[in-house]
């Protein structure tokens, strides 16, 4: 949360700055299989976010002492391009924020990937935020799920992620950058849609217990739309051309 002194008005005539309703997602587009070298990949546009996800593996784990004889390990690197933001040139390389996001993203996929199929193996997940407009970790997870499926890696489910927040007394879905900077709460979540399991949950700001439940409900409801876009991206790869 940034400075409160020059906080802009985030709501106008009962709508959000970009004209969305409280429970409305930004437009999402996903294209699977766009990087030739990677075993799986996806490009995602979510509002003004532009995200690339690429998968390498399963392959032999390196260094060797990282290998788990019972199952594959996952390595995950979330990173933001230095030109991705609206402000100055960012510092390249992983910072503390990126390290934390990489860790919680890795934990999401450890839940759904069938790691026991590749003992001693390694699966690399690379997420590059090329342009950022709020909700990049959710966008990265949503893209990486499609990239993993594109790599043919067996998973229990295709995970999606989205964040919910609060503007004044209103709980809102899919906060963008300006809302994230000035809103009263932000809660990114990743969900396994087959049973509604919560695989990632972070939050800061303030929610009463009622608002927390309303926000979680919105995130579960949004899964219908996000999951459909993910599936369509994969189905498109196997369409028979004219």
């Amino acid at each position: 949360m940034a400075s409160l002194t020059n906080r802009p008005e985030l709501l106008k005539d009962g709508k959000r700055l970009d004209g969305r309703a409280f429970n409305e997602l930004r437009p999402i587009k996903i294209e699977a299989g766009i990087l030739k070298n990677a075993d799986g990949s996806a490009y995602l546009e979510w509002g003004n976010n532009k995200v690339l996800a690429a998968i390498y593996g399963p392959k032999e784990a390196v260094p060797k002492h990282f290998a788990d004889p019972a199952k594959a390990i996952i390595k995950c690197r979330y990173s933001m391009a230095p030109f991705s933001g609206l402000s100055d040139h960012g510092r390249s390389g992983p910072n503390r924020r990126a390290t934390e996001i990489s860790k919680v993203t890795k934990e999401v996929f450890e839940n759904v990937v069938m790691l026991n199929e590749f003992p001693g193996g390694e699966i690399d997940i690379f997420i590059e935020i090329l342009q950022s407009d709020g909700g990049t970790r959710a966008a990265g997870i949503t893209a990486a799920s499609v990239a993993l499926a594109n790599a043919g890696i067996h998973m229990r489910d295709i995970v999606y992620a989205v964040s919910a927040g609060r503007i004044g007394e209103h709980v809102v879905l899919d906060v963008n950058m300006i809302e994230d900077n000035y809103s009263d709460a932000d809660m990114p979540m990743a969900i396994s849609p087959r049973n509604g399991d919560v695989l990632l949950l972070q939050m800061d700001g303030g929610f009463t217990r009622e608002q927390l439940n309303e926000a979680m409900g919105m995130v579960l409801e949004a899964g219908k739309t996000i999951s459909r876009v993910q599936r369509e991206a994969l189905e498109k790869l196997y369409e028979v051309g004219e």
Binding site: M1, A2, S3, T5, S87, R96, R97, T99, E100, S102, K103, V104, E107, V108, E110, N111, M187, S192, G196, D197, V198, L199, L200, L201, Q202, M203, D204, G205, G206, F207, T208, R209, L212, N213, M216, G217, L220
Partner: protein
């Protein structure tokens, strides 16, 4: 982790199937917590927190600095956590691990979202402010570092005096008053083992936990949350834990505020 620890972790898991905790606590009971303030006289503020055998020390230093470009009307808070190699046979020397970075960032988030400390009051003059460095040192690991670190940081901030600043010099021997703390945020960390949701896991319980959830509240609202590990929670479980966390606030706040021995 050694063989004995692994066995005891498995034992804890088996007992939980019968609804019993390895150390006979209730599911939502903390171990004994003690808070000691002012343990490092040279620091502007300090506190040592023991939860069972877990021991964490937090020290606060203040430095004159410039405000961040995006928050020109506020001082700064910089939170760091060190998993010292002396704290556990499993910790090693080296650059900060993802675990220690996560720990620092989760503690930071709760205190910032409170908002606990009055950052605007740290402005000294235009373009000059205090930066509050809060360093959490884990001295002995025995489970639940998130709550121990959060309590130690919170108690150390309550203990903090702002040094005197005169003609461009910091005079640490003299104080210009206490750091303004508006609100106490208390953290509760739950673990899931099988179908059991337990508060304040000891290290044996942590070794077999599928996932954990840290919830920081101010008694009326949830202020920060962080799920960790690869297991999953249902939305209903999250709601239940939020309820317990809000109920626990008063008890924890009293402990954090206590200046006692």
């Amino acid at each position: 982790m050694g063989v004995l620890e692994t066995l005891r972790g498995n034992y804890a898991k088996e007992l939980l199937d019968k609804g019993i905790r390895e150390d006979m606590r209730g599911m939502h009971d903390f171990r004994k917590i003690s808070v000691k303030r002012g343990v490092i006289e040279h620091a502007e503020g300090s506190a040592q927190v023991d939860i069972g055998n877990t021991r964490v020390l937090a020290g606060i230093k203040l430095m004159v600095d410039e405000p961040m470009p995006d928050t020109p009307d506020q001082g700064n808070l910089v939170m760091n956590a060190e998993l010292l190699p002396m704290a556990s046979a499993d910790y090693e020397t080296g650059p900060p691990s993802p675990e220690s970075i996560e720990l620092a960032r989760v503690v930071d988030r709760g205190i910032r979202a409170g908002p606990s400390i009055d950052l605007p009051s740290l402005i000294i003059e235009e373009g000059k402010c205090w930066t509050v460095f809060a360093d959490v040192y884990v001295l002995n690991y025995a489970g639940n570092l998130f709550d121990a670190s959060q309590m130690a940081a919170m108690a150390a901030l309550l203990d903090t005096r702002i040094p005197k600043y005169e003609d461009g010099n910091v005079i640490r021997e003299e104080s210009s008053g206490k750091l303004k703390v508006d609100k106490i945020v208390a953290s509760t960390t739950f673990g899931k083992i099988g179908s059991a949701l337990l508060l304040d896991m000891n290290k044996y319980e942590e070794s077999v936990a599928e996932c954990r959830l840290t919830i920081a509240t101010d008694g009326s609202s949830v202020r920060a949350m962080q799920k960790g590990l690869s297991g999953s929670f249902s939305v209903r479980e999250i709601d239940e834990m939020a309820g317990v966390s809000l109920e626990k606030y008063k008890e924890l706040k009293d402990i954090i505020e206590s200046t006692g021995e």
